[in-house]
């Protein structure tokens, strides 16, 4: 601040000399009441309406020139959202909203788009909501012509690459896992479910199982069902010439054929029975409390009266009845918020939410219930009506203080089929609301007896048991595990005789019990080709095993040598030029399970496993028997030629962060090394796609091992 006088960028009537002059003249009168201050009339605002174009294929385009900054921003809003997905596929819209962009287009991967767009500080993004999806573009105007084709391509030809669907699913699963960590989040979510009813499309909740069931075909089908020009409103604003932009957009969209119309919004609700609902949460010092019953739709002719009543009830910054009573007068809460919600094309909810210390939970419930009751019993005063209407009317300017906002509002009206003058008539509709209207809508839409009350908290610290309010219905928010149901098809717990007999065949084929027992260590060299998103990567892997539990793999890759070492008490990686890194515990676990399921390890210690034949399958011309080998709940299947004892295929649960479903490895070309017979060629696939193949080029039984290879290098 000291440098400020030096800066003195003082324009207008102040010369630098006057800076630092005497303080305000004593003569100037300071009001003692705000009533003394008379505001001049507000300067008339001169915001243009956006230009509207409807193409023959039904698509509506809204354009708004805005030359303040050299930017162009647009959004295609598309009918059809989460409410249109099957309940068994809950989470589809979130996966779609993410993989639509990250999964790239047919010509470019999402990763390539990231590099291209971020280098230009451009954004093309996709997302999904309850009732719609959207593709957005936000770009420096000079880049518009290079980036707009990407936007178009993404809108019409998304590739939904599987790796990015899997990434979106992993992130969705993280959201599910974390959804009970914050009490406020629990309250909002469960209140919504109580308000709409558990089977409502507005309350569908993604679970591990619903997420797992979502496939690429589901995403493609959703896209095909909804993304048609007649379901789209495209709003674009920024530093362009409208005539030129219109030509570009016509060129881009005019030839796009119509498709089926999106269905109408579902509006049925099955709200929870009135009463008290409770969710126990122990790691909190506050109770989060919510109240819910059905709200209204925006096109309801009572909307404006309800809007004014909401303002009196809970509007403004702190001046609503709820805040005034629960926060300011009683100090019970940091915040309480509520009102009758109005959806654009389906009913909203009448919700009230707050949080208070555990010891004032019932006191707060009582106070809120009284406030709700008073909407019907305590007259709305003239002062309240005046304060509410003035607040709404005077702040209305902030809904139209930028061209971007004007454009967005026009797009909303267009999307939900409201008349284009809706906002122009908004203030006169508010002005018309009279005290009698408030009384009428309070009687009509506020039903204190219909409210469901939900409490999330630590009941032992409440001042009184919740049951003093009547019957309490507990709500279970335990997150269902994915494998809860499918685990019934897990391997039999005990060996069966057919299994033990088949194991005997495999042991003989491999070299017999004596030779297998004599193996203390193995070193083998394999050349492996791995399919990665960047293409095929070739590497040579030298793998050393000292039974039972020391493993070392040296991978020679184009960027250098990577070594991974796993022993009972260490797990680390040596990276080229980067030194030693600890293996994450998840990778250690994956590696341990994999080595436990190695055939030679199993054959050396059959007492640690159970063996059962559970079926047959034809592989090529061979009718194989399926040998399920289990240990500590992990199961691997070997497909064995019963005549020879050869293992032709291995199927295991894929492991590690990149895992998806089962991993299938097919073996061929057996060779014998030091009396042990093993396959020398393999191909591995996952999710039906080949992920790797390889050839064994050398194998040494009981090599001489330097003990240092198991040690972590210093530094």
């Amino acid at each position: 601040m000291k440098t400020l006088t030096a800066i003195a960028i003082v324009l207008t009537m102040w010369s630098p000399a006057s800076a630092g002059a005497a303080p305000a003249k004593a003569a100037s009168h300071i009001p003692t009441s705000v009533d003394e201050i008379k505001a001049p009339p507000l300067r008339r605002i001169n915001m243009p309406e956006p230009k509207r174009v409807q193409l023959d294929n039904g698509m509506v385009i809204l354009m708004m020139e805005d030359h303040e900054l050299p930017l162009i921003r647009g959004a295609a809003s598309i009918h059809g959202g989460a409410r249109d997905a099957a309940a068994a596929k809950a989470g589809l819209i979130e996966i779609l909203g993410s993989a639509w962009r990250t999964g790239g287009t047919e010509s470019k991967t999402g990763d390539e788009l990231d590099d291209f767009l971020e280098a230009r500080a451009a954004r093309v993004e996709t997302g999904g909501d309850d009732d719609s999806t959207a593709v957005r573009i936000d770009v420096l105007k000079n880049d518009f012509d290079t980036v707009f084709p990407i936007f178009l391509d993404l809108l019409r030809n998304p590739a939904f690459r599987q790796d990015k669907i899997d990434l979106a699913k992993t992130q969705m699963n993280a959201t599910i896992a974390r959804r009970n960590d914050d009490p406020g989040e629990i309250l909002d979510r469960e209140l919504n479910k109580l308000g709409y009813g558990p089977s409502s499309p507005y309350a569908a909740q993604p679970e591990y199982a619903t997420v797992a069931s979502i496939t690429r075909d589901d995403l493609l089908a959703f896209h095909k069902r909804f993304v048609h020009p007649n379901n789209i409103v495209f709003a674009i604003g920024g530093d362009f010439d409208s005539a030129m932009m219109e030509r570009k957009l016509r060129d881009a969209f005019a030839s796009w054929p119509r498709g089926p119309q999106a269905p109408a919004a579902p509006t049925a609700m099955t709200p929870a029975k009135p009463g008290v609902y409770f969710i126990a949460k122990s790691d909190v010092t506050q109770a989060n409390i919510g109240f819910v019953e059905p709200g209204i739709q925006r096109n309801n002719h009572d909307y404006f009266a309800v809007r004014v009543m909401n303002e009196i009830f809970s509007g403004g910054s702190f001046s609503g009845r709820l805040m005034n009573d629960l926060r300011t007068k009683r100090g019970l809460t940091y915040g309480v918020d509520g009102g009758i919600g109005a959806g654009w094309d389906h009913p909203g909810l009448f919700e009230i939410t707050m949080a208070t210390k555990s010891g004032t939970t019932l006191e707060s419930i009582d106070a809120v219930r009284k406030q709700v009751g008073m909407l019907r019993t305590q007259p709305f005063t003239a002062a309240e009506l005046k304060q509410a209407k003035e607040s709404i009317l005077n702040r209305f300017i902030f809904t139209m203080d930028s061209r971007q906002k004007m454009l967005n509002q026009a797009a909303i009206l267009e999307f939900y089929g409201f008349p284009p003058d809706y906002f122009r008539n908004y203030t006169s509709n508010i002005e018309k609301v009279a005290a009698a209207d408030l009384v009428r809508v309070a009687r009509k839409y506020v039903a204190p007896g219909d409210l469901a009350v939900l409490v999330v908290g630590n009941e032992k610290d409440f001042e009184k048991p919740l049951s003093t309010l009547g019957t309490v219905t507990p709500v279970d928010i335990t997150i269902p595990e994915l494998n809860a149901a499918p685990s019934t098809q897990a391997a039999p717990a005990a060996s069966n005789s057919e299994g033990t007999a088949l194991l005997q065949k495999v042991t003989e084929f491999t070299g017999g019990k004596a030779k297998i027992d004599a193996v203390r260590a193995v070193r083998e060299v394999t050349s492996v080709s791995r399919d990665t998103p960047q293409g095929v990567m070739d590497m040579e892997v030298e793998s050393t095993v000292e039974f039972p539990d020391r493993h070392r793999a040296v991978m020679k890759m184009p960027m250098g040598e990577v070594t991974v070492v796993m022993t009972p008490d260490a797990g680390f990686m040596l990276l080229p030029g980067m030194g030693t890194r600890e293996l994450p515990s998840s990778q250690r676990d994956a590696a341990r399970t994999e080595s436990k399921q190695d055939l030679l390890t199993i054959l050396k210690h059959p007492e640690k496993y159970t063996f059962a034949v559970t079926g047959t399958e034809k592989i090529g011309s061979v009718d194989t028997k399926i040998l399920e080998v289990s240990s500590d709940g992990d199961t691997v299947k070997f497909f064995v030629d019963p005549a020879s004892g050869k293992v032709l295929r291995k199927v295991s649960r894929a492991r590690g962060p990149m895992a998806q479903g089962d991993q299938v490895t097919d073996f061929s070309a057996w060779g014998t090394f030091g009396g042990i017979t093993v396959p020398t060629a393999f191909t591995t696939s996952a999710g039906g796609k080949q992920v790797a193949s390889g050839k064994l080029t050398a194998m040494e039984i009981n090599p001489v091992l330097d003990p240092k290879i198991w040690e972590k290098p210093a530094g």
Partner: protein, 506 residues
């Protein structure tokens, strides 16, 4: 001040937002539209004209925050911020003369009660009860004169929006938006709250603040983690104190304590007000001078003496929670005024901005260990030496500690390998565009101008920072990374889940 309910995820998102690195989009055009004036009492006023619509936004930034608190009064900067909505001698009262006497009685009764209840030896419980009753009776008597929320009702009725305030370690900020015909009303209200604030309803508001603490810190696992993490990372500097305050202090400090804090730090020379929008300086300045010129000139408060000593051992905090794992680590770095600041900002962008960022590509995209990961500067503030923080939220089936090796691998890369010209250029381009995209928000600009003026003494630093980032070289990044990202300079904090993390992606 106002309730904002934040989920864990929005917190993660907030953490991921860059602090506001900016560029020299068109400094000259901004200088033409900007008027800076220092009133005789030392108050700095910045007006940026933007006549798109008849509205304006303002931000008052007081150069005092929770870092100015000492033991016993933690949370007081924030408490005063709440009191700044309670009105003045003219706003919020039916009879100030009578109210003033009643409030003095409240204060005397509270002091008596507080002294007795905190006696370590020989406390008389019956006396405590009696004194508490006198205090509560005195409050009820004072409440009779209160017009609740009158200040905010005036703002609301005039069409004001976004009435709010925030307290940080470095500053306390007040802001809202108004139709532009209400400039005089605004000047009256804003000057009034700092001219003669009246601490009515202080002790009820203290309860409200304690509810805020329960919501943000006590009942939220990430809030609990951050509290432990910061108090571990800072041994001496007040950045280790929670801005919301320690519970004991919130239950004890008085309106008199708050008044002392106000008198010491809320002096005009310690305050910057920025106004952005449909305001004509030639008409506005006389009004501003009239109302704000009456604030008495006072000396600047002493600057903070305590400097965090160099860290010479790694520190770690582990929270055992039933919630999902979260990982955070921080490294001490110099204040924002340090010449290396643009290099730290560049590192932040490299690590966390967008889907090309290193932490996203490694932890989120490729290894799928984290649902979100990023790094940011300026925690918990940036006026004093602070922390560069890296964090991650795990995916199901992974422990927080699974993130350590991959995060450190990315940090090692910063130290040992030059960033490619393409990667660096992409960051610089986005920094410039990032500034541009913020220039059409009156409210955002008002806060940034006032904050920048407060921190650097010159609002133009907002634009110059972009030029400085543009000059950052790969060697700069390696040097700063090597100086900063050392084990002994690191504090690690994480949540370990008591229950096995629920698995969905096995």
């Amino acid at each position: 001040m106002k309730p904002i309910r934040r989920s864990l995820w929005s917190l993660a998102l907030m953490l991921a937002l860059t602090a506001g690195s900016l560029q020299a989009q068109d400094l000259a055009s901004f200088e033409k539209r900007t008027t800076v004036r220092r009133l005789a009492n030392g108050l700095t006023i910045i007006i940026l004209e933007r006549h798109e619509a008849p509205v304006f936004s303002y931000a008052t930034v007081v150069n005092a925050g929770s870092a100015q608190e000492v033991a016993g009064i933690t949370g007081l900067a924030h408490m005063f911020e709440h009191m700044a909505f309670k009105g003045s001698e003219h706003i919020g009262t039916t009879n100030y003369g009578a109210e003033k006497i009643a409030l003095q009685k409240v204060e005397a009764a509270y002091q008596a009660y507080d002294r007795e209840r905190r006696r370590r030896v020989g406390r008389d419980e019956a006396r405590v009860k009696e004194l508490e009753k006198s205090w509560r009776d005195a409050m009820a008597a004072a409440d009779k004169y209160v017009i609740p929320n009158e200040f905010s009702k005036i703002v609301d009725a005039a069409g004001g929006t976004g009435l709010n305030a925030g307290t940080r370690s470095d500053t306390t900020e007040y802001f809202f938006n108004m139709p532009s015909n209400q400039l005089e009303l605004w000047a009256y209200l804003e000057s009034e709250r700092f001219y003669d604030p009246v601490f009515r309803e202080f002790y009820k508001e203290r309860d409200v603040v304690q509810e805020e603490r329960r919501m943000r810190t006590e009942s939220n696992p990430v809030g609990r983690l951050i509290l432990q993490f910061l108090s571990t990372a800072f041994m001496a500097h007040p950045y280790g104190q929670p801005t919301i305050g320690w519970s004991s202090d919130l239950q004890s400090f008085s309106a008199t304590d708050a008044m002392h804090f106000f008198r010491k730090y809320y002096v005009p020379a310690n305050t910057v007000i920025a106004i952005v929008g449909d305001v004509n300086p030639s008409e506005a300045m006389p009004i501003i001078e009239k109302y704000f010129g009456r604030l008495p000139k006072e000396p600047l408060p002493d600057t903070l003496r305590t400097v965090e000593p160099p860290q010479n051992a790694e520190r770690e905090v582990i929270l055992h929670e039933t919630s999902q794992p979260v990982y955070i680590e921080g490294y001490h770095r110099p204040a924002a005024t340090d010449p290396d600041n643009p290099i730290y900002d560049t590192i932040e962008m490299l690590m966390s901005a967008g889907r090309t960022s290193r932490l996203y590509r490694s932890l989120v995209r490729d290894q799928k260990l984290a649902a979100a990961a990023g790094g940011f500067n300026g925690f918990p503030g940036d006026k004093y030496p602070n922390l560069f923080v890296v964090y991650g939220f795990t995916t199901p089936g992974h422990a927080a500690t699974d993130l350590i090796a991959p995060i450190h691998a990315e940090i090692e890369r910063l130290k040992t390998q030059d960033v490619t010209p393409e990667e660096l250029q992409s960051v610089k381009t986005r920094v410039k565009a990032g500034l541009l995209r913020q220039l059409d928000s009156n409210a955002g600009l008002a806060r940034q101008l006032a904050e920048t003026q407060t921190l650097y003494g010159d609002w133009r630093e907002l634009f110059r920072e972009v030029d400085k980032i543009d000059a950052v070289t790969p060697a700069d990044i390696r040097r700063v990374a090597n100086e900063t990202f050392q084990e002994d300079n690191r504090t690690i904090g994480f949540i370990e889940s008591e229950k096995k993390p629920a698995g969905g992606a096995k």
